[in-house]
Each structure stands twice: as C-alpha cells, then as structure tokens.
C-alpha cells in the first residue's frame, strides 16, 4: 500500500527486440535484472515488427516499453515506434532504449521522444532506478 492507500502494483515492462537483429543477450540480461528489481517483465522474443511490439504493449498494458537494438538501426526504428506510440495515444508509457548506441545519437533519440537511453555497459541500478522513478504508478 502506498501513502494514498491504493494497492501499488508491480511495474510491468515489455521488453522487445525490434527489427531483424538476433543478438538478444543484452535484452535477456536486462530482463533478468529488472525482474530481480521487483518488476514484471514480458519478453516478446526476436524479429518483432513495430506493429507487433505496439500491440503487445497495449495488450499487456505495459508501463514501460524497453527496446534492445544492437544493429545500428536505432534511429529509424525509434522514429517509427515513437510515431506509433503517439498515434495510439500511449502517452503514459515510458520508452527506454538499450544496445549499441553511440553517445552522439542519445540526444537524437531523446528528441524523438525516447525517455531513457542506456547503451551497453550501463550499470543495472542506473536502469532500474530510472524506471522506478519515471514509470507511471499503478
């Protein structure tokens, strides 16, 4: 129970690998870390289209959409995903991206509307704290 007396539910994260890239070690590792931090994690598996990811996020009523992108195609993929997030009116979903992301692309991703960017090597507490502080509260 939080101080308003409402039952506080666990933060639900939809972890997704958009695009064709199959390197999912990072996605699985972070999924384990988020689960250890008390969150509920649903992993979509590989080779997901943007529509599949958005539909899964809606169906699962996810608080957080976590994207793992290793292929270098993070800018075009995130542009499309953020467009669909807006179209679907998913205003309160927290979108975070991890993977092989050059530092110079982080501001570009933020401009697209991505809330948090965590390149490979980011310590787990940094990711879990960000999500806990910024995910919508149930």
């Amino acid at each position: 129970m939080d101080k308003e007396g409402a039952v506080k539910r666990r933060i639900k994260v939809l972890m997704a690998k958009p695009g064709l890239d199959g390197h999912d070690r990072g996605a699985k590792v972070v999924a384990h870390a988020l689960r250890d931090a008390g969150m509920e994690v649903v992993y979509t598996g590989l080779h997901q289209t943007i529509d599949q990811i958005i539909n899964a996020a809606i169906q699962e009523d996810a608080d957080v959409l976590g994207l793992s992108i290793m292929s270098g195609a993070h800018l075009p993929i995130c542009e499309k995903i953020m467009k669909r997030v807006r179209e679907e009116g998913m205003d309160d979903i927290l979108v975070v991206v991890g993977g092989v992301i050059p530092t110079k692309d982080i501001p570009k991703l933020k401009e697209l509307g991505v809330d948090g960017v965590f390149p490979g090597g980011t310590p787990f507490p940094e990711i879990t704290t960000f999500i806990k502080e910024n995910a919508r509260k149930g």
């Binding site: 690998k17 695009g19 064709l20 890239d21 199959g22 390197h23 999912d24 070690r25 699985k28 590792v29 999924a31 384990h32 870390a33 689960r35 994690v41 649903v42 992993y43 598996g45 590989l46 080779h47 289209t49 292929s71 270098g72 195609a73 075009p76 993929i77 092989v100 050059p102 530092t103 390149p119 490979g120 090597g121 310590p123 787990f124 507490p125």
Partner: protein, 546 residues
C-alpha cells in the same frame, strides 16, 4: 564472460582462482599432479598427428603450414565488399570470411519493408547471383577459401557460391566454401533463424549430402560454439554444446545411409577466444582429443582424417569493451596467442572498434598484422604444441575434458540437442549465466579493465577518439537499383518455373540443392527462394524463456 574468479587475501595475494568452467587453479603443479590424473603420454597426448590428436592434427603443425588468416569482412554493397576483400588479400590475408547483412541472413530482399534501415549495415547485402558476381570478381576461387557467415539460408548461399564459381570458370570440385550453416546455435544465440528445428536441420543435411559428391573441398557446416559462448556459455559448455549440435547434424546424414567417413570431414568448428589464457588453451587441446574420440567411439570412424577437429579459433567479441577501445588491440593479441598455442588452423580476430560497429580498414589490418606478427616475428611456428607436457597444462586439459563430458551428458539426459533447443533448455541456462556474469562485473567479483578497474574514461581512446566505420545511407538505394535491374532483365517465366520445382523438392524428400542451383542461376532472389521454404516449412516458434 571470460575472466576467472580471484579470491584475494591481505595485500592482494591471490588465494583462490576458479576458472569459468569450474576448475580451480593451484599455485604450483608438479609431477604428482600428472600422476593423480593418471596421465599417460600415448593415451592422453600422443605425438602430433597421431590419435587422439591432442597435440594437433598435423605432424609438423605450423611448420608445415601457417594458420589461415580469415578476417571477417563485408559491408554495404557487394562492390564495397569486393574492394575490402582485395585490400585484405593484398595485405597477406589467406582466406575470406564473408559477413552478410541482416536482411540477407533472414532471407529478405533489400526492398522488403522489414529490411528498411538494415540493408548493408552489418554485412554485405545479397539479393541475387548478380551480387555474388560483383563480390567475388577477380578473386581466385580455386586458391582462396571463403567462409560464409550465414545460417538459415546457407543452402541458398552455397548454391550461389557454386553458381558464381562455375560462371567464372572454376569447377565446383576445386572451390572451398565454408558456410556457417549451423541453425541450432542460431536458436541458442544470435537469433538468425527462420524455419523450425526439423526442416532447418534437414536443409543442413541436404548441403552435407550434396557436398560429398559435388563440392568435395567444401566444408558444408561450421559448428559455431563461438556464438553460444557469446550468449553466456562457459568454455566447457561452448565445446560440449558445439559437439552435441554436430552430433545432431551427423545423425541427419547417417540416417540417410551414409558412412561417417564419407562426410564428417566437412564439419568444421568455430570456437571463441576470450578470457583466461590457460583455460582457452586447455579447451582447444581437450576439444581436439574429445572430438576424435566421439568420431571413433560414437560414430565408428575409421579414417583418421574424419576424426580431425578442424576449425577457426578466434573472434573474441565478448571480450572486447566499448571502454578504452584501443586496449582491445592488446586483448586481441593475447587472444591470437591463445589461438596459436591452442593449435588453431584458422584465426579471425575481432578488431578494436568492434564493440561499436564493423571494422574500418585500419582496425581490420591491425588484427591481420597481429596474427602475422605471431607467425613471422614472435616464433609461434617454431615447434608443435609448445605447452605439451607442462604439469599445469596437461592437468588442466584433463580437467577440461571431464567438464566438457559432464556437459555433453547433461544434454543427452534432456534428449539431445534438438530437444534441448526446441524446449529452450539451453537458452535458459545460458541467459541466466550471462546475467550472473554482468552482476559479477557490478559487484567486482570479476575484473574487466576499463569497465570496473582502471576506468579513467579519458585515458585511452574512449569513444570519440576512435575513427569508426560510418554507414552510408545510399547503400540501400544502390542495392535496390541493382535488384530492380536484375528483375527487369531476367526471364520471369523461368524463375517461376524454377521456384515451382524447388517447392516440389522441398515438399518431397529430394535433396533441394540441385533445385536451388537452378533457381539461383535463373536469378531468383533470396527472398523468393526463402518464401518457398517458409510456405512449406513454416517458422520456428521461439520457446519462452521467461
């Protein structure tokens, strides 16, 4: 992954070393250790070139032949890749190792909507035979072998390689291709799968069967423990899972009525190097010995050459860091040393910038020079298996052999590798270990320079100080133009007919390779041929591991 656990006492004294595969290293080894493991020269080692080949498959090792250098190369359009091939060959590289982009690996044409943003990004884009004609122009295919890093659609790429060789005037009997063609490891790590387990393994069986008569110098399968380790496996698991995967492919061909000595020579391996040097060397020596035993005892091989563990030992991608990237050049040099001390026939080293993106010509040449330096200056060709007889190395090799056998037996207990992969058994185990490794890095249980020790970010070529390969956004446009031109000029009716014949073969138990060859020669696209297989076989359903 890779470094060991070091438990230290006061004043930084090392009190305990536990290698990733579980063995403990003692501070001192003596003849007593060899006695305890029951070491017997003839049974455990034997001379180089003699069963069980622990000391190497050739009598004179690197004296008779240096290891092949096969840097992973390929990006953008086939034309750009061809230029890089020629650069590397002109600098002394002795084999090719072709990288394909993700759409090609997934059997999609460059104009497929799903390919958007990915064309030519992490490897060369291939849509039709035209692309192979451009990529391999002026390469002497009878002199240089080509590794093709492709799996789900390896049968298509092998047909393309044969077709392009014939077109350039080489008999398929003289060309040497090594498509990776290892779908089970794609299902464990790396993820470039398309079809379900059984038809995917059947396609691999078709390439193996076809190679026996048509392309005898080709190695139709390169089992890739490498990627399993990248996903979180220990060195012992890397070998055990790789061998169990190879056993699945062997079973597929044996059940078609072939004898092991007819085809097992075409199975090669791709193993990973990073982490503790001793563990890597012991891993390769134990692997060579165990593979010979498996071939002889499990499969009844009689020909020594069938029992040779041949392969590429290299890479080391997971050992490299984004932090202080220039240090990766030093790391890679030690990985190359481990490969040489382990008796690699072929080495490809990851380059110092590969934690970011594909290598520049500059970084790729540093990797090539690293191997050349070991061969030509440092003395790694002087004598065969120089660590043989070391109290420590022989003890560790024996312990590694036991660890690998335990892991092999565990997979047997869950029904063999095909079942272990279909149910997600291996994937779950490997993913858990990957997590534990990362947690170990955060707690400091494992040490990685630049990540959790000596971390000064500005000290040694952090990001921004390193020149990186930039993706050229015109690549897709150019590639789609070539594709459209091929489609305009090819005989559409012939393509349709060839694809129908391919479908017939895929639905029957006929070997699909001759049909693929005809479709390829008619300039059918990778997407069209893959679509035929998808129609017949369906798609792999990834087991849920959470």
């Amino acid at each position: 992954m890779g470094v060991a656990k070091y438990n230290k006492g006061e004043k930084d004294a090392v009190e305990e070393v536990i290698l990733q595969s579980g063995m403990r290293i003692k501070p001192v080894y003596t003849p007593q250790d060899l006695e305890e493991i029951g070491f017997d020269y003839a049974q455990d080692l034997a001379d180089p070139g003699i069963y069980p080949f622990t000391r190497g498959i050739h009598k004179l090792g690197y004296r008779s032949r240096a290891w092949t250098t096969r840097q992973y190369t390929g990006f953008g359009t086939p034309k750009e890749t061809n230029e890089r091939f020629k650069l590397m060959i002109s600098q002394g590289q002795t084999g090719l190792n072709v990288a394909f982009d993700l759409p090609t690996q997934m059997g999609l044409d460059s104009d497929d909507p799903l390919a958007e943003g990915e064309v030519g990004r992490v490897g060369m884009a291939v849509d039709t035979l035209r692309d192979f004609e451009i990529a391999f122009a002026d390469i002497q295919l009878d002199r240089i072998g080509s590794g093709l890093t492709i799996n789900a659609v390896a049968s298509i790429m092998l047909a393309m390689y044969q077709a392009v060789a014939e077109k350039f005037g080489y008999s398929p009997k003289v060309i040497s291709a090594t498509p990776q063609n290892d779908i089970l490891k794609e299902m464990i790590g790396r993820g470039m799968w398309i079809f379900p387990v059984d038809p995917a393994v059947r396609l691999i069986g078709d390439t193996m069967e076809y190679s026996i008569t048509t392309m005898p110098r080709t190695n139709p399968v390169s089992v890739c423990g490498y990627h399993i380790r990248e996903s979180g496996a220990t060195p012992a698991q890397e070998i055990a899972y790789g061998f169990q995967i190879a056993n699945s492919y062997i079973e597929e061909v044996v059940k078609r009525g072939y004898h092991i000595d007819q085809f097992a020579r075409g199975i090669t391996f791709n193993f990973n190097i990073f982490g503790n040097l001793w563990e890597q060397v012991a891993k390769f020596r134990a692997a060579r010995k165990l593979w010979a035993k498996i071939l002889k005892e499990r499969w009844g091989a009689k020909d020594n050459r069938t029992m040779f563990l041949r392969g590429l030992f290299g890479g080391g991608g997971s050992g490299l860091t984004k932090e202080q990237p220039i240090i990766n050049a030093v790391r890679s040099a030690y990985y190359a040393l481990a490969a040489a001390l382990g008796g690699a026939q072929t080495t490809a080293l990851c380059s110092y910038d590969e934690a970011y993106t594909i290598p520049t010509p500059y970084s790729a040449l540093i990797s090539l020079r690293t191997c050349q330096l070991l061969m030509d200056e440092v003395g790694l060709r002087d004598t065969v298996d120089p660590l043989a007889g070391s109290y420590f190395i022989e003890t560790l090799t024996k312990q590694m052999e036991d660890r690998i056998l335990e892991e092999i037996e565990e997979v047997d207990r869950v029904g063999g590798m095909k079942d272990a992969v279909a149910t997600g058994y291996v994937q779950r185990k490997v993913a858990r270990q990957a997590y534990e490794w990362h947690r170990g890095l955060e707690t400091g249980e494992y040490v990685k320079i630049g990540i959790n020790k000596y971390t000064d970010p500005g000290a040694l070529g952090s990001e921004g100080k390193v020149e990186l390969h930039e993706y050229d956004s015109r690549t897709a446009e150019e590639q789609i133009q070539t594709l459209n031109e091929v489609k305009r000029t090819r005989n559409g009716r012939e393509v349709a007919m060839r694809l129908r014949e391919l479908e017939g073969a895929a639905r029957s138990s006929k070997n699909v390779m001759p049909y693929l060859l005809e479709a390829v020669k008619a300039y059918a696209t990778v997407g069209e041929m893959t679509e035929v297989f998808k129609e017949v076989y369906g798609k792999f359903q990834e087991p849920s591991i959470f």
